[in-house]
């Protein structure tokens, strides 16, 4: 279907038409290349702007050491003389919070989405199926601020009253206050947010598994679940990977909802706290940027924020590219009738 394989438009009108065509092609081509310029520009400028934060801290930027919020405060209050700028930062709690929330949410979502997709494709009664598909599309369209609102007004108070006991509060009182905003709520709502994307991709993939394999398995006396698990799921493994990668990119970039429900404290939840671990707050990189958006024009604070953005940009660019590449290889796998 690509233009290269079409018969080229004949130069019916002579040289003039040729030139117009060429002009149009060049203009549109320039427009398309603008996307690449945009990405390059983003990467270069954000990196450049955030570079001072990296250079002043070296590799220790990624390490741990002290309270991130305090360090950010110091940077914000730094003297206005460029020679005296304060850059000291140990961003580990933020990086750890990001990875923790994203990783756990994607892991849960993958399992849940695969199960839900199997349900939609194979086991749902017909009328229920007709309801679920628009429902999934609907969930994907709900703005994150609405998820955040319900989270902060309903889920967080519920967690605060029902899951946080006095004793658990005391056990960590010397480090952190537990008020319900926590990674538990953050992960829970994030899972709800990224599942629709994954379900849409996986359902499509399941439906594209060739009938001949399914019928072959059923004709051998294998029940519906087994056939689904051993033939279909196996065949769509690349699609599941692609869906997970895309979901990870989405989760990484989620700023608003997590800022509302996961706590606005740059704290690194401690697994050694046992179950209380889940009730501790954290703040991923994206939320940190949004929470501190007023300070973006103030150096060196702005530069530190841009450093965070650079990390986010590089990771999400890499993930999106990986997801796209995975989806391309997956479609070649099923299109060729091997």
């Amino acid at each position: 279907m690509e233009a290269a394989s079409l018969t080229d438009a004949p130069a019916a009108g002579g040289r003039e038409d040729d030139r117009t065509d060429r002009r149009v092609e060049l203009t549109l081509g320039a427009l398309a290349s603008a996307i690449l310029l945009l990405i390059a520009g983003m990467v270069i400028f954000v990196l450049l702007k955030g570079m001072p934060s990296f250079t002043h801290n070296g590799l220790a930027w990624f390490g741990a050491g002290g309270s991130v919020d305090e360090q950010l405060m110091n940077i914000f209050n730094s003297p206005s003389d460029p020679d005296d700028y304060v850059y000291h930062l140990r961003a580990w709690p933020l990086l750890y919070g990001t990875a923790l929330i994203t990783g756990v949410a994607v892991a849960f979502s993958t399992v849940f989405s695969v199960l839900a997709s199997i349900f939609v494709v194979e086991f749902a009664p017909r009328r229920l199926r007709q309801v679920i598909e628009p429902v999934v599309r609907l969930l994907a369209a709900v703005p994150s601020v609405i998820y955040g609102l319900i989270g902060i007004l309903v889920v967080v108070p519920w967690v605060a009253t029902h899951l946080i006991s006095e004793s658990s509060k005391e056990s960590v009182a010397y480090v952190i206050q537990l008020d319900g905003t926590s990674i538990l709520v953050g992960i829970f709502i994030l899972v709800i947010m990224i599942c629709p994307i994954m379900i849409a991709i996986i359902v499509d993939a399941l439906r594209s598994v060739p009938d001949k394999w399914i019928h072959g398995a059923r004709a051998l006396g294998v029940n519906r679940w087994r056939a689904m698990r051993t033939v279909s799921l196996r065949a769509i493994r690349p699609a599941i990977v692609a869906a997970a990668v895309l979901a990870t990119a989405r989760a990484l970039g989620e700023a608003i909802m997590l800022s509302m429900v996961a706590g606005s404290v740059g704290f690194a939840p401690n697994p050694l706290d046992g179950l209380t671990f889940f009730l501790e707050p954290a703040r991923p990189l994206a939320s940190t940027i949004v929470d501190n958006s007023e300070g973006l024009s103030v150096e060196p604070f702005g530069q530190t924020m841009y450093a965070f953005a650079a990390i986010l940009l590089i990771s999400s660019a890499f993930l999106s590219f990986a997801g796209w590449a995975a989806r391309r290889s997956f479609s070649r796998y099923t299109l060729g009738d091997r």
Partner: protein
């Protein structure tokens, strides 16, 4: 009369072959089935809860005058003012964003499907679109800030006395919103263009039309519904985005135009999303009732746009078969 056919040599393994009319579902299979059902049902439950709860709370707190009154700064937030300005803000941003995204997106889509040379560039652009689609809107927002705070971009926003460009305005936010909507416009348009069979193009060329006018006169009109779908999806995404608004639209609750021509566009304001954010416990205000009301309106807007998408795609049944 039945005579049994003698068995095969391997029948000492018959126990493995004949499992008898026992149930074909093992315990593991049943657990799997059960889990699948649980997943499916909980999906429905969650969706119903979200929509239902928002509707309940929203209707509880929504008064019609909220839609027409501007926000007021007052001590008792729960009584005063509405969110007329934020509604206008959402509309304005959506219009600006999609007005930029449609021509740019359609142009890029056309290039990808109808031209696409050299092939390496086309592939790079394709992966570029994916990367843009996956970029968090926070990052797009602060990149936009970076760009529009440069002095030569001063005409897009307010410039303070000291020479510092504010960089935040409707137009700057609108431009970045168009980037957010772009992948959807491109994707839908490409799909629509690819669905047009080859013979339509060949017929047009055979009549002596060159590629550019074929595209303009024949292909694009047929791809209308695809473009509309992409645009509507993009609008939904723009209307629901908060990060760009928080960072690139300035902090004023009411619409504050800048002076001069196009003052409205160079001014700041708020949208439904930033209004909800600000009125929630996470923001400065603490008026959850207004937050619910505004969120409900926002949800209705987004659902409506989604519904429109469904309508468009249903109405444009494939005409090419």
């Amino acid at each position: 009369m039945k005579v049994r056919v003698p068995g095969r040599p391997g029948d000492r393994l018959a126990s493995l072959r004949r499992t008898g009319p026992a149930s074909a579902w093992s315990v593991g299979d049943r657990i799997g089935l059960g889990l699948a059902w649980i997943a499916g049902i909980s999906l429905c439950v969650v969706a119903a809860t979200i929509v239902g709860y928002m509707a309940w709370k929203g209707l509880q707190f929504l008064h019609l005058e909220m839609l027409t009154t501007s926000p007021e700064a007052s001590m008792d937030q729960s009584q005063s003012g509405g969110f007329f300005d934020p509604i206008i803000g959402t509309l304005l941003l959506t219009v600006i964003g999609i007005a930029i995204a449609i021509p740019v997106g359609v142009g890029i889509a056309v290039w990808l499907t109808e031209y696409g040379r050299p092939a390496g560039l086309a592939r790079a652009v394709e992966s570029g679109i994916e990367i843009v689609a996956g970029t968090p809107s926070v990052v797009l927002a602060i990149f936009g800030l970076l760009v529009f705070q440069q002095t030569f971009m001063g005409l897009f926003s307010f410039t303070a006395e000291g020479g510092a460009v504010f960089g935040r305005s409707f137009i700057t936010a609108g431009v970045m919103m168009s980037v957010v909507a772009l992948p959807m416009v491109i994707g839908s348009t490409r799909e629509a263009l690819n669905a047009i069979p080859r013979h339509v193009r060949e017929a047009s060329y055979a009549l002596g039309k060159d590629r550019a006018s074929t595209i303009r006169r024949v292909l694009l009109p047929s791809a209308r519904s695809g473009i509309a779908t992409g645009a509507t999806l993009g609008m939904g995404r723009i209307a629901g985005d908060t990060a760009i608004v928080v960072i690139l639209l300035g902090a004023s609750m009411t619409i504050t135009p800048e002076g001069g021509f196009l003052g409205l566009f160079r001014g700041t304001g708020s949208t439904l999303t930033s209004y909800v954010y600000n009125n929630s416990p996470a923001g400065e205000g603490n008026a959850p009732e207004k937050a619910y009301a505004a969120a409900f309106v926002l949800l209705l807007v987004v659902l409506f746009l989604n519904f429109v998408v469904g309508l468009i795609s249903k109405r444009s049944e494939p005409k090419w078969s």
